[in-house]
Symmetry: C2
Amino acid sequence: MSAGVSDRSNRFLRALRREPVDQTPIWLMRQAGRYLPEYRAVRARAGSFMDLCQNPELACEVTVQPVRRYALDAAILFSDILTVPDAMGLGLHFVDGEGPRFERPIRDQHAIRQLRVPDPAVALRYVVDTVGRVRRELGGLCPLIGFSGSPWTLATYMVEGQGGHDFRHVKGLLFNDPEILDTLLATLTQAVTDYLNAQAEAGAQALMIFDTWGGVLSARDFLRFSRDPMARIIEGLSRRREIPVIVFTKGGGAWLPALADTGAEALGVDWTVSLREARAQVGGRVALQGNLDPQALYAPPARLRAEAEAVLRDFGGGAGHVFNLGHGMLPDIAPEQVTTLVEAVQTASRGLA
Amino acid sequence: MSAGVSDRSNRFLRALRREPVDQTPIWLMRQAGRYLPEYRAVRARAGSFMDLCQNPELACEVTVQPVRRYALDAAILFSDILTVPDAMGLGLHFVDGEGPRFERPIRDQHAIRQLRVPDPAVALRYVVDTVGRVRRELGGLCPLIGFSGSPWTLATYMVEGQGGHDFRHVKGLLFNDPEILDTLLATLTQAVTDYLNAQAEAGAQALMIFDTWGGVLSARDFLRFSRDPMARIIEGLSRRREIPVIVFTKGGGAWLPALADTGAEALGVDWTVSLREARAQVGGRVALQGNLDPQALYAPPARLRAEAEAVLRDFGGGAGHVFNLGHGMLPDIAPEQVTTLVEAVQTASRGLA
């Protein structure tokens, strides 16, 4: 049977294309991270988070760590969603416990018009080098996912100077001068397209666009300011047929048909989404990736297994599901919990396949 | 024609029952608040936020201020969503810029089993007194809305000790000991039912349940831990036929059919929801309340009017819409902006009626 041809080297890519697989592939957002002692050891050697991102040898090492330790079906480049605006000169840095900041946020028309699309071969060379190095290190073990933040998400951080729950400056731009926001988004759309093309050229086998802040927009504004730029990026990918794309709008569960219109092969969904309902809406057009609540990893093993099985049952078996969390791994999860989760997904999904 | 019988005294209540009205009624969440100079003057006299809530004379005054200044179609009791756990002895207070806190959060089985349902005539007497006083002060000008937080939302604050974006303790309870969470929610369901019945008895003409944190749950957990307790409250209201109920789950836009199953007359929706799509899903069963992005009030007047008109067009005219924001008024909005908004809604909706 055709499912027999899938294994760890291609299960994830087949599922993104809604082809049959022997068991549901699994990887975890932020799987390379602080919950792993081997990550903390490398991070301590590297210096800051950005020092680690910009060191291809060490970034490669932490990318590969989780797929060595666990039977995960994909590796994801160790990097940050905000490398593009950093390459534009905004000065990305991280404040402990408070997330990313830009030293030089950008708010006025003049500054927005001055922004230039960075050449990834120069300004983001460290990412391109890391991708190549990871591919050599992985051999055929499992595929590598490249990624970027969405234009709207990048714009949000660039205008606010940080993430958060207010969005006053970027919403102010949206309501007072939507045309200049369009200009900023057009620049970012070109920059992200070039960046993802460079990652694909260097060896990334799937691409993911993280639309972390799309969910703070109204349904109508979301289409113009977040969905449409993502669709233009996908249209601009030079190896469009070969490399599947995943779009993940956090908080976008009510907009799945609009997100499927981007042309992406798969949609990431957070844990507020019913996979059954999502599949009924868009399962004929895209694969679905998700969506266990990351806090379920605090549960005792039996309960964690039951929660993982509930996610699989909610999707309902058959082609087109990539198991993941609904958001990134939390830093204080016990590493053995991930072993429990991976085994639960693999065992239970063989029963459903 | 029947629409001719509606005016400021009953337009809001008619719209909640999906009866024809001459123009779309409007009120604004947190319409009594810091953006109004007359509110700031009273607040300065009262002391802390809780001192103001607990002083029926001053709480009445700030409840009535916005309906004196603007042609709004409803007043909402000036109070907080967390008065019930405060009455249970948890010690509610407010930290400037950081929102509500409980002095004595509650996390263990023993403490949860010790909780008692407060008698609103005693422990929440100040709310009951305020409701009666506001009704006398309003005369027949416009209806008064009473409210509470939902059991899940109250439980979240009670277990965490504060709001936030982590929810580690309450999710820990959910994944480790869901039965004790059910126990806590059952106590809160009875307490909120008694509290809303006391507000109705004192004169509240509509009731709203604010489910501020329902949107952090998975689709499945939402039904058990947030939706079902709200449905039990509505079932337990003693003047069920006379007093319409509005349920508002922030971030619950993907769950509207499940929310309509609570038995509420109306659902509040945040600005991520398309009113057109929401109406197609549940418009035959409930009215819809919302959903302008509160940050649209930062826009220049012409743009603000256009945004308000877009919300009205999105709903599409006819019965069953109450105009509101998708979240509370921000504290630094210029008061004249609210005049612009109210006039825009009233003028444009007469054209659509």
